[in-house]
Amino acid sequence: MHRVEHVMGFPVSLRVDDEGFDETGASAADAVFAWLREVDVRFSPFKADSEVSRYDRGELELAELSDELTEVLDLCEHYRAATGGAFDVRLPGRGLDPCAVVKGWSVQRAADLLRAAGARRFVLNAGGDVAASGGPWRVGVRHPVHADKLCTVLELTDGAVATSARYERGDHIIDGRTGRPATGLLSMTVVAASLTEADSVATAAFAMGAEGIGWAASLPGCEVFAVDGGGQVLRTEGFPVAEESSTAA
């Protein structure tokens, strides 16, 4: 099974290789995309009637928030504190924007839905954030300069990988400590057990700039592949680089 839909403003690609899943798994795949659309409606800061927007306008009290949004905001606060304020979903002069955490968290939940429905060998890719199960899967990391090239290939059996970069939307990740765009890195890729962690850590480390490399690398269970502002790669020893079967370009 291979399905692609646009949800939350980006393409979401689902591939399930389990035998017989086409017949039995269609409803599970439907549930995955329905969940992601629900997340968009409830947690998008760009929708005026979302829970996030209503909370931001003061129409909802903290105690009135759903368990899901409370969990997301707790994660945001955790990473704000852990990065010394570099990662901040409440930047001065801007509305509450927890998108960076919502994305990884919601796609991880989608992967959990698939697993609960019996899928074992699948890969779910939401705008470049990948949750994988039952590998080995070969995951390429987009080259920060050349869109049609990869800068590395990693092998993932069960786990997640996320990349933060500024090659596409420009300087959209702000260092909350300075209020200015984070420009210290070209690209930051993090491998972790869950996409909730991989995506949050990749974005938070990117916001920190060069020092985010060491910070992310020091987190237990996180493997890092970073390209710094000068185009130098720094990666952790345990980053799961795939066996060479590539052709140099």
Binding site: H2, H6, G9, F10, P11, S13, R15, N125, G127, G128, D129, V130, W137, R138, V139, G140, V141, R142, H143, P144, A147, D148, K149, L150, C151, T152, V153, T163, S164, A165, R166, E168, R169, S187, T189, M208, A210, E211, G212, I213, G214, W215, A217, S218, L219, P220, D228, G230, G231, Q232, V233, L234, R235, T236, E237, S245, S246, T247, A248, A249
Partner: protein, 136 residues
């Protein structure tokens, strides 16, 4: 060595926050100074490294204790960064990362999926992931 020095600075800048080193206004400067005045020592110094020059950074005092970084060069390239001294603190000793420096490569390969900041639909259309999805 000219090109390598900023990387040393960068590596140290990246490692130091592990000890929650709170730099004052001049914090970055002091890190830079420590890194740009390394005392080079022969590679026979520590472990049985195969080849390359081993450079020890100056010890930096943090509020958790002294920190010293060792960088191994192969020519102008850093091949390994290692902590020689680290504060004896259970929270931090377990979390010391070893970073490997490499040259950025542009490659093509047979892959199942692509990780990247593919957020907009226009960029997706031209992406490798779109090609993979189109293949079905």
């Amino acid at each position: 060595m000219k090109r390598a020095i900023p990387v040393v600075v960068l590596s140290i800048a990246g490692l130091v926050p592990v000890w929650r080193y709170e730099p004052s206004a001049g914090g970055t400067t002091s890190t830079t100074e420590s890194a740009s005045t390394p005392s080079a020592s022969a590679s026979s110094g520590s472990s049985g490294t195969t080849s390359g020059t081993v450079v020890k950074g100056t010890t930096i005092t943090t509020d958790k204790g002294p920190v010293q970084v060792q960088v191994i060069f192969s020519g102008d390239k850093i091949t390994a960064v290692k902590m020689l001294q680290q504060p004896n603190h259970p929270q931090t000793t377990a979390a010391v990362p070893k970073l490997i420096a490499e040259t950025l490569k542009a490659q093509s390969a047979d892959i199942d999926t692509v990780s990247g900041a593919t957020i907009t639909s226009d960029a997706y259309k031209e992406s490798l992931q779109a090609a993979i999805d189109a293949k079905g």
